[in-house]
Subunit: 221 residues, 4 copies
DNA sequence: GATGAATGAGGTTTCATTCAT
DNA sequence: AATGAATGAAACCTCATTCAT
């Protein structure tokens, strides 16, 4: 009745240790930084010999790639899940959705400050390749948001001339600053809420297609 | 006729060397990164002995502080100068101003990609103190934008209920992503223009007080 | 009908594996050198676990001893077989024999350059004991040649005052340089032939008893 | 009144330390072997920090090259000096010269057993490039001897059909074995003498032109 | 004041060997 | 008996910092 009957016990142990090392590396890297972390620190945290590390990963740079793989996957999964572009049927519904997503976005980083710290603060200072990965992730985020907005565009919620892709990137910028501010003031819930609201107002009033209702636009959170 | 007649020639030389070291360190740090730069690299660039470095700065961490001081001052000066909140007299003028500033903001980083790289990619991965400095700079940026908007608010260009501070931070986020995208695609002028436009549209249409030209828009958080 | 009916099948397997390990170690050691070869390389070549290695040999140094045992035995066997001191009946026959042996000696190394490489280049850099073994092998070679020459001396082909043992060593030196040169220029058949001829001329004319055919030659130290 | 007035004191110290490191490395490498020697061993012998080593040499492989440079130069200088092919005027003189050189050759290694050990036992097991250097040195030796013999050939002391180059290599082989035997039995002066004599006999009687003094001996390949 | 030689802490990586399965 | 995961000693190399000249 084991979870993966096709894997031998040894294989499962191996995979478990691999995962453990990735997690330990994640903790160390995000806590003290990549350069300040020695392989020995990671090994010590797990109570394994540091030679063992090299049985599972090529070198220090290699483990970072895997840590970032993991974290990227988590972030992307969360965002994709939240942004199911199945759609809103009305402007009101769209606003509702927008608020929900904004809240969720803050949540992702709120629940994983270390993750944010690693990606925003550490990952860009390793080498060009890793910096590129991070930039690609931001780019992907912008495109995801753009895809989501394209839907709204078709439904007529947005200005017909809206540049969804560029706007998507702008939105990612606001998400980014939210994450950064959260990292700096993790306990100032009020400030977080204010920022979320401000972003929401920018979004809704800025991109809403006013011709739908002609004169009035009366959004509310 | 010297600028500082009170300084002896030796003293002026000393200060000049100090400034040269800071500049050389800036170039090296932003080109190859803080951790990948050796003190000897900085000294070699100037053609001085690397022992000399230690007559002017405490240690490697110390010079970074001074480099960041310098760069921060430059950025802050540019932003303050550009954002002189003396003000627009009409909405049209405000829009004009807004476009000008947006263009100028991209310009700051366009002219100093190394500066942007250093602050965005490197400075956050040194230690908590330096990360805090960067966060404070962003915070300062948000507040500057907020101050600028407060002016517009008083003049009635913006919604009366506008949360200028939060919105200021959101705007900084969009500036941030612009800078990041510029670093990644420095030659794609079209994309840069599109992003600038998208941001401008968000700003103007999102924060403009519609009661000036049409019926009311009264959002609330 | 097995060769050793007294050995159980398991025992035969064990001995076979032992021999396989020795052979694999020989290949690896001679190809990449003792220090550059890891136990895992040897095991991988055989498709066995590297832990298995330690069931058959004490340690890395141990396997080298066995590899050298093997190679030494092969070389000694070849030389002994070729040099059957049964003897020549005339000077002409001796010359004939001499040419044959010279050619055969080159052949040993020509067919086994890896063997030569291992013994000449690698084995002497392990430790004193292994160096001694190599030196003993050379010594043995000199004595073998000496024994062979003693026969010729008795038959009156050589100068009566010939120091067969010392001369034997000198001859081994020439064999040695032949092997080294062959390793360096394995394809220059002409050079190999010239060297073989030069050695042969030194040998025959140098050690031949000239009183048989001409006036005396009386060297002194 | 300093030896090199053009060199500053610092420069002289630097060169002296460089030379000291080379010498210390030579001692360590020849005593315990290249692979068994750590940079720390070399530094400890000199009482310097091991980081200092890296101020003067790129890496471990680099210092070996310089050690071998040094030793090669010494050997080559000695051989060239001894073999001034200015020449013998008579066969007797040639024999005399031959004996002198033979004695001297043994002497080179007798005085520097460590040097011989390093070149014969260690240097060939590092990598292909170093092995090639050693082989080239042997080749050079053979050619030097050949040049020396060419002189004798012109003077009519040797058989007209003598292959001086191949014979030169053969002679180097005998020098080689002498060195090896000396390293193994450094105190057995008698054996050394016997080998030197045997080689001399091979040389003189083997290559001497017998038509000068007696009837012919005409071997063929 | 400038210099750069010297230092050694600190980090990465390899691999022979052990031992539980 | 075979395996290969785990281990940690050991070696290389870098570079921030000190200090005598």
């Amino acid at each position: 009745m084991s979870e993966s009957p096709s894997l031998s016990r040894a294989e499962r142990n191996r995979l478990q240790l691999r995962a453990d090392i990735i997690q330990a590396a994640f903790i160390e890297f995000s806590a003290r930084g990549y350069h300040q972390t020695a392989i020995a620190d990671i090994a010590k945290r797990l109570g394994i010999g540091h030679g063992t590390f090299y049985r599972h990963f090529e070198n220090k740079r290699d483990i970072l790639d895997h840590v970032i793989d993991d974290v990227s996957a988590k972030i992307m999964a969360t965002l994709v899940a939240e942004n199911a572009p199945s759609a809103a049927a009305s402007l009101a519904e769209y606003r509702e959705q927008c608020a929900r997503i904004a809240k969720r976005l803050v949540g992702i980083f709120a629940e994983n400050p270390a993750m944010a710290r690693l990606m925003l603060f550490e990952a860009t200072s390793i080498d060009q390749q890793m910096t590129d990965r991070m930039m690609n992730l931001l780019d992907w985020g912008g495109k995801l948001v753009a895809a989501y907005m394209s839907n709204g565009l078709k439904l007529g919620f947005f200005r017909a001339d809206l540049d969804v892709e560029a706007t998507g990137h702008a939105i990612v910028g606001m998400i980014l600053i939210s994450a950064l501010r959260f990292l700096t003031h993790p306990d100032d819930k009020q400030e977080q809420q204010r920022l979320a609201n401000a972003i929401q107002l920018l979004l809704v009033d800025g991109v809403a297609n006013r011709t739908l209702s002609s004169t009035a636009t009366t959004p509310s959170s």
